[in-house]
């Protein structure tokens, strides 16, 4: 019996026991249901922006309605205009939320609270355009001269490096990758921790460890629950893509991401999950009660959050000192390195170093976790002090 076969058997058991459980089935149906049903509703809500409602009172320039509609079109927006007999009436409508802005005498914008800058631009350019047309007319210019004055030649533009049309989908891919990693670690890491804890609590662990070593047990659990997590992500992700494509809201340019970026994201996802799952397993070994589990469960979060934010920073400044270091040093690297690799050129040696370091870290945490496990299995109830567990568990 090779140790690897034992690991796979343990992984298989954890995977099958969970995937066949009613709890798993029900939660997956719920999530998929929500994504498929609620997704389009939410998307419809946000897909087509609501028209801006503009109120006018006092003097209004001729042609204001057409002008403001045209200038809104430049922002891909629509507007509705209604007029009020007095400023007071208009302000009342503003307070009630009937209109977004009130234009008084064609020269003052009144807001309920914070000004909306897009709407300010839309109304301002309409009013200014009308003013300019009036001035031009008073100067007695011909139709053609007026048109030339109002439509100046646009500026030409060129780039030193050809823009990469796939840059945005790539950035999104790496961002989504680290977001998924973040969520998976929190979810499945907890599962691993609870799984380890349950085995301790039900005392089955002594039966298992009479046949295999703690290291194999922990590795098997991490792999089994990880496989379950990936299936879960694929199902949820599939439902999400299905919803998006059907609602036709976002044009998901999968081809634009490219195989290399996709592979980078997936590989780093796996590396990151492995490290943190092993960490959760080690922490699970120190506790045997739910209350204590919550206490230690937040420890990885303390490390995940900086990694996640470094990853976002790397999107903007991939070569700044912190993202640069973070992309090499575990446990931050799984969040930062795929992002850097996507948005900038990272030397091969840096990638290699980073991979070696994270694998090393995972192995070390596994060893230490196994040792804690060994030392703490025979103590049930009280939270085991880390130092005591390490001392007691000197076998592994």
């Amino acid at each position: 019996m090779s140790p690897l076969r034992q690991v796979m058997l343990i992984a298989q058991r954890d995977f099958l026991q969970r995937i066949r459980s009613r709890a798993f089935l029900v939660s997956m149906l719920l999530i998929v249901g929500v994504v498929v049903i609620a997704g389009p509703l939410l998307a419809a809500e946000s897909a087509v922006p609501k028209p801006y409602k503009i109120g006018t009172t006092g003097t209004v320039q001729d042609g204001f309605n057409d002008a403001v509609t045209a200038s809104a079109k430049a922002f891909d927006r629509t507007v509705g205009v209604s007029s009020y007999a007095s400023t007071a009436e208009g302000e009342a409508a503003l307070e009630k939320g009937d209109i977004n802005v009130l234009l008084v005498d064609g020269e003052q914008l009144v807001w309920n609270q914070d000004p909306n800058y897009q709407l300010t631009s839309i109304v301002t350019s309409a009013v200014q355009g009308l003013d300019r047309a009036k001035t031009i007319a008073s100067l007695g210019l011909s139709q053609e001269e007026a048109a030339r004055l109002l439509a100046p030649a646009p500026l030409a533009s060129r780039s030193l490096t050809a823009p990469d049309p796939s840059q945005t989908p790539k950035q999104i891919a790496s961002y989504v990758g680290s977001l998924l990693l973040y969520i998976s670690i929190l979810m499945f890491g907890q599962f691993v921790m609870l799984g380890v804890m349950e085995e301790k609590q039900s005392r089955v662990v002594e039966v298992v460890l009479s046949r295999t070593r703690p290291r194999q047990l922990l590795a098997g659990k991490v792999i089994g629950i990880g496989a379950l997590g990936i299936i879960q992500l694929v199902i949820i992700g599939g439902a999400g893509l299905f919803t998006l494509s059907r609602a036709n809201v976002v044009n998901v340019d999968l081809a634009g991401i490219g195989a290399r970026v996709a592979l980078t994201v997936v590989v780093w996802y796996l590396l990151g999950y492995a490290l943190f799952a092993v960490l959760y397993a080690a922490l699970g070994a120190t506790v045997s009660r739910q209350e204590d589990a919550q206490g230690v469960g937040f420890i990885p979060v303390v490390v995940i959050l900086p990694g996640f934010f470094l990853g976002i920073a790397a999107l903007e400044n991939p070569n700044a000192i912190l993202p640069h270091l973070g992309s090499i040093i575990p446990p931050f690297s799984p969040f930062v390195m795929p992002t850097r690799m996507t948005v900038t050129h990272v030397p091969v040696w840096e990638v290699a170093l980073s991979v070696v370091l994270i694998l090393l870290a995972t192995y070390l945490v596994l060893r230490v976790g196994a040792r804690i496990y060994q030392g703490s299995i025979l103590r049930i109830g009280a939270k085991v002090k880390l130092r005591d567990a390490l001392k007691a568990g000197s076998r592994d």
């Binding site: 058991r13 002594e206 039966v207 009479s210 046949r211 076998r395």
Partner: protein, 292 residues
């Protein structure tokens, strides 16, 4: 053959094992006895590497025990526990495979155990849906499903009803007859006397008595004396006689005591209705060995 050799284990300033050595030979059932806290569980855990001794060694057929050897052993821990939400047949197959059986061998062994324990119709039940006694049976089956060459059972009789005790005893005897070595701990001394051939008595981390039970009884310096005169317990007033048990009916007497003389005195006091002069039983040996 399993050899425990000079095992020592210290927990803080508590000495759990203080140089424990004994053997478990193939085909023999070894009763492992001792007061609470004597070190029985710690010694058993050492066999599986669950506890690493500070000194000493556990050997199997002459070489140190490692992960590969553990697969040939079966272990029933004192604190019972299996996967409560897993179906029992699946559970047996899983543990069989974890010990290195291939899937078909594990399946057929699981089925054999289920029908033998009368649980064939519960094969698809979850462990948690079984009665306490049946859960115990499954626990035993899990420790033996892979046909181990050595079974280490920590308090296998604890919590069993009389029928369960009979089943367990029969299973252990059969297993030994098939050539496996068995060591089990227990507090029920009458039971141990019936089931085992060898005993090891441990006290405060030291082996205080070990060997073939019949031998030990014969070699004892004492004899167990039980006399009833006119239906009442009777004791001779002689030197070196000691009351055992709290019913005041049984005595230990020197091996070389003059039996004729005892019987003669008994007859003088009335009609002797029963008289026995036998090697001491296990309870007597135990009491003497762990005398405080």
């Amino acid at each position: 053959m399993l050899e425990l050799s000079g095992l020592r284990k210290q927990y803080g300033n508590v000495t759990a094992l203080d140089g424990v050595s004994f053997d478990v030979r193939p085909g023999r059932v070894v009763g492992f006895l001792g007061p609470n806290g004597a070190g029985k569980t710690t010694a058993m855990r050492c066999v599986f590497g669950l506890v690493r001794p500070d000194a000493g060694e556990v050997r199997w057929n002459g070489s140190p025990v490692g992960p590969q050897e553990h697969l040939r052993f079966g272990y029933m821990p004192e604190e019972r526990g299996l996967y409560s939400k897993m179906k029992i047949r699946e559970q047996l197959v899983y543990f069989g495979r974890l010990s290195g059986m291939d899937p078909s061998a594990a399946s057929s062994s699981a089925d054999r155990w289920l029908s033998r324990l009368g649980l064939a119709d519960r094969a698809l039940s979850k462990l948690e849906d079984l009665s306490h006694g049946n859960q115990q049976r499954v626990q035993l089956a899990v420790s033996l499903v892979h046909g181990p060459e050595l079974a280490v059972l920590d308090e296998p009789f604890a919590g069993l009803d009389p029928i369960g005790v009979e089943d367990m005893a029969a299973t252990l005897r059969e297993l030994a007859d098939s050539g496996a070595g068995i060591v089990f701990s227990s507090h029920q001394l009458d039971l141990v006397q019936d089931v085992c051939q060898d005993v090891v008595i441990i006290d405060r981390g030291r082996v205080v008595l070990a060997g073939d039970l019949t031998d030990l009884r014969d070699r004892s310096d004492y004899r167990h004396l039980e006399v009833r005169v006119d239906g009442q317990p009777w004791a001779p007033s002689m030197n070196g006689i000691e009351t055992v048990g709290d019913d005041g009916q049984r005595y230990l007497i020197q091996k070389d005591a003059d039996v004729e003389e005892v019987l003669h005195r008994a007859r003088q006091s009335g009609a002797v209705t029963s008289f026995s002069f036998e090697p001491p039983n296990l309870s007597d040996l135990f009491r003497q060995a762990v005398r405080r």
